[in-house]
């Protein structure tokens, strides 16, 4: 379970507070107007920002002293999820060993995972030779291999067309079924929230509200959400 305990993130004149918890295995959308602090919230959980006060706990363990690479989570960004000078297989392999000195069984795991996301035979290609959808698949493959219990997605499919995005969300849902990981996904598209997540965290006006049932939220939106949805 992810717990944000009276968390306060301060950046210059921006302030975001959160006091909530996300049960293990839940799929939670994070929505809200742009600039509200959705990405900032994820960055704090991932360890890129030091909170002003409060705690971030995973299964009761305080994450404060763990550097980003050692936290029990995988993070996909909006873009730059792959290193352009490394091949797809190398990018995925980084999920197993950050120095890329892979054993032959690890190499096999890499190619199996690439096959799992539908990229059999694409291992030697560099990102420049892959489409946007394929790049997202490579990033998902690395996410699977890292086997972290918490997955943070910061609009990684934002630049894809609607059909492709739907495809990715389906693949993501399947992968989460297999791994049982907990998901926190930032999106500015309410449809995404409905589609993949049972619960939604609304980030607006300096507060990250506790997750509530997605259907209920949209059936009876609070004022802040109404203004955002227009």
């Amino acid at each position: 379970m992810l717990t944000l305990e009276r968390l306060e993130i301060v950046q210059d004149d921006f302030c975001l507070t959160a006091d909530l918890s996300v049960p293990t295995g839940a799929r939670v959308a994070v929505i809200g107007p742009s600039g509200a602090g959705k990405s900032t919230l994820l960055a704090a959980i991932a360890g890129f920002l030091k909170p002003g006060s409060g705690k971030i706990l995973w299964d009761g363990v305080d994450l404060a002293d763990l550097p980003p690479g050692e936290r029990p989570l995988s993070l996909l960004f909006q873009d730059n999820n792959l290193f352009p000078h490394l091949s797809a297989a190398e990018n995925v392999g980084l999920g197993l060993r950050s120095d890329l000195r892979l054993s032959s069984s690890q190499k096999e795991a890499v190619s199996n995972t690439l096959e799992r996301v539908g990229l059999k035979g694409f291992g030697n290609r560099k990102p420049a030779a892959l489409s946007g959808g394929q790049i997202a698949r490579v990033a998902l493959a690395r996410m699977i291999l890292r086997q972290k219990p918490l997955v943070l997605l910061d609009e990684p499919f934002g630049a894809l067309g609607p059909a492709l995005k739907g495809e990715m969300l389906t693949l993501l849902a399947d992968l989460l079924d297999e791994t049982g990981a907990t998901l926190l996904m930032v999106s500015h598209d309410p449809d995404d929230a409905v589609r993949i997540s049972s619960q939604t965290i609304l980030v607006a006006e300096g507060i990250a509200h506790p997750p509530i049932d997605t259907a209920t939220l949209f059936a009876n939106p609070p004022d802040a959400l109404k203004r955002y949805l227009g």
């Binding site: 030091k50 000078h85 490394l86």
Partner: protein, 524 residues
């Protein structure tokens, strides 16, 4: 302000070591020199003359370079013609052109028995005198017109095209545009460029060694060399070194405060569309300016080529050995310059906060104020109690050259490293990519281009350097530029031209190999 959680890894300790080494090389050597200085009372009239000459020739050189560069830059900014981009590239070449090679070329054109004097003889005029103030300023102008032209051209191209369109729609003629658009731009960029060239001319050594000298044309830099090499008067050398360092520091600070012209300048390969310059007088003016610029810059090099090509095959072995030593020094110096620059840049990026990062990078630019001969003198004083300095001539030369290339290397690497951290720093952090893995898998592959460029620059600068080596070397440890200078002073001009050609070819080759190596198959 939220702080980064990622701890500083030991690899960044290298940055601290580099910073310390640079402090030792600049302020440390200066301190070593100061312990030997005798006090201001020891300044004799000749030293005051050297001080005056240093400032006067630097002032003349910088003024002439800028004045002559303005029309060339203007012509390049508003004319599109065949060979324009080649000319712009050529303007970058003096940076890696060995000074002593250019001096030999200038002697062949402007010297007593050079092309110009011969032509003057045909119409009954006396030959020109190149030694002394004339020659020093001529050579400095030769080197700095290209630099000034490139920097002023950047200023011209930085005027937004919309302004020229607006001016055209308002019916401005050429004079209006000069008044409203071009003069304000020149007023903004020229002072900074003037100060940079002033500083370069103040610390220039090889030019003054070859073309200056004597009571009327000795700079502080040359006086340090003479006090050290001929009189073996360490106290005197030390005193002059302190004055030179102080002067350079003051000028460097002024140059930095006035304005810092931006870097090596990418994107000079375009012109701005103009509607006010089609009149035939302006066309003829630009044409003439460009022809003279090309003649002035290319003739000395062509002459070297013509004279040297025949002599290369009969060069004595000693020249080839010195060439071999020079290549080794250049490679060592490039490796050191890159290590210093990279570790400093890593530390600066890691520290993040503007003030501390600027402070760390500032160490790298400290070497601008330090003249190579001051550093060399200081190192000599430090080494003297332990070893014979001439035994260490080559390593010391490589180290001093590396320190001198450092500002340029830092300028190429720092922004690239910042971009990498901005684009991929978080991804690398989230994957736990740190230490040597981060270096090997992220930083080095993504920095190949600037690394290649900086290494090429450092190698070429070191290859052509005739500075500190002149202080230390005995005949067995001469580098190629020094060997070439010895041939010149022995009036073996044919061999000197051959050596010059070899030196030029090796400098360009080193630059090309590294720069090319950084580009081939680079995924950036």
């Amino acid at each position: 302000m939220a702080k980064r959680l990622v701890p500083i890894k030991p690899v960044y300790g290298l940055g601290a070591v580099s910073a310390a080494l640079i402090l030792l090389l600049t302020l440390g050597t200066l301190a070593a020199v100061v312990t030997r200085a005798e006090g201001v009372s020891a300044l004799r009239p000749a030293d005051w003359a050297a001080l005056r000459f240093t400032l006067w020739q630097a002032f003349l050189s910088a003024s002439l370079s800028v004045l002559l560069a303005v029309p060339v830059a203007r012509a390049l900014a508003r004319r599109q013609f065949f060979g324009r981009s080649a000319l712009v590239t050529l303007l970058g070449a003096p940076f890696i052109l060995p000074v002593i090679v250019a001096v030999l070329g200038l002697l062949a054109v402007f010297g007593r028995s050079g092309i110009l004097s011969t032509m003057l003889g045909w119409v009954g005029l006396p030959p020109v005198h190149i030694y002394g103030l004339h020659g020093v300023v001529l050579a400095h102008v030769f080197f700095n017109i290209p630099l000034a032209t490139r920097l002023i051209l950047q200023g011209w191209l930085a005027i937004p095209a919309e302004r020229f369109r607006l001016a055209a729609s308002l019916g401005f003629d050429n004079a209006d545009i000069q008044r409203v658009l071009e003069w304000p731009m020149l007023r903004a960029v020229v002072p900074g460029i003037f100060m940079v060239i002033f500083l370069l001319c103040m610390t220039s050594f090889a030019v003054v060694l070859a073309l200056g000298g004597g009571p009327k044309a000795t700079t502080l830099e040359l006086a340090i060399y003479q006090a050290f090499r001929f009189d073996f008067d360490l106290g005197k050398a030390a005193l002059l070194a302190v004055i030179q360092f102080g002067l350079c520091a003051v000028v460097a600070v002024i140059a930095w405060r006035v304005a810092t012209p931006a870097g090596m300048g990418a994107g000079l390969d375009r012109t701005v569309e103009r509607w006010d310059t089609s009149n035939p007088v302006l066309r003829a003016q630009d044409f003439t300016v460009l022809v003279f610029a090309k003649l002035f810059l290319l003739t000395p090099l062509v002459v070297i080529f013509l004279k040297g090509a025949g002599a290369v095959w009969t060069l004595p072995d000693v020249v080839w050995w010195s060439a071999f030593r020079s290549v080794l020094v250049a490679l060592g110096s490039a490796a050191l310059a890159i290590s210093l620059a990279l570790s400093l840049a890593l530390l600066a990026v890691k520290l993040g906060q503007k003030r501390t990062a600027g402070f760390v990078e500032g160490f790298g630019y400290l070497t601008i104020a330090a003249s190579p001969l001051v550093v060399g003198t200081g190192l000599f004083i430090m080494i003297f109690p332990f070893a014979r300095p001439s035994d260490l001539a080559l390593p010391v030369t490589a180290i001093v050259n590396a320190a001198m290339s450092l500002p340029f290397a830092l300028r190429a690497l720092s922004p690239a490293l910042r971009d990498i951290e901005n684009d991929f720093g978080r991804l690398a952090d989230s994957l736990g990519l740190s230490g040597w893995s981060r270096m090997r898998l992220l930083i080095l592959p993504r920095m190949r281009r600037p690394l290649g460029f900086a290494a090429g620059l450092a190698a070429a600068l070191s290859m052509g350097d005739l500075g500190v080596i002149a202080l230390f070397a005995d005949p067995e440890s001469a580098t190629l530029p020094l060997q070439m200078f010895r041939l010149m002073t022995a009036y073996r001009m044919g061999d000197a031209a051959g050596a010059a050609l070899v030196l030029l070819a090796l400098s360009l080759c080193l630059f090309w190999v590294f720069d090319r190596g950084g580009r081939v198959d680079a995924d950036t």
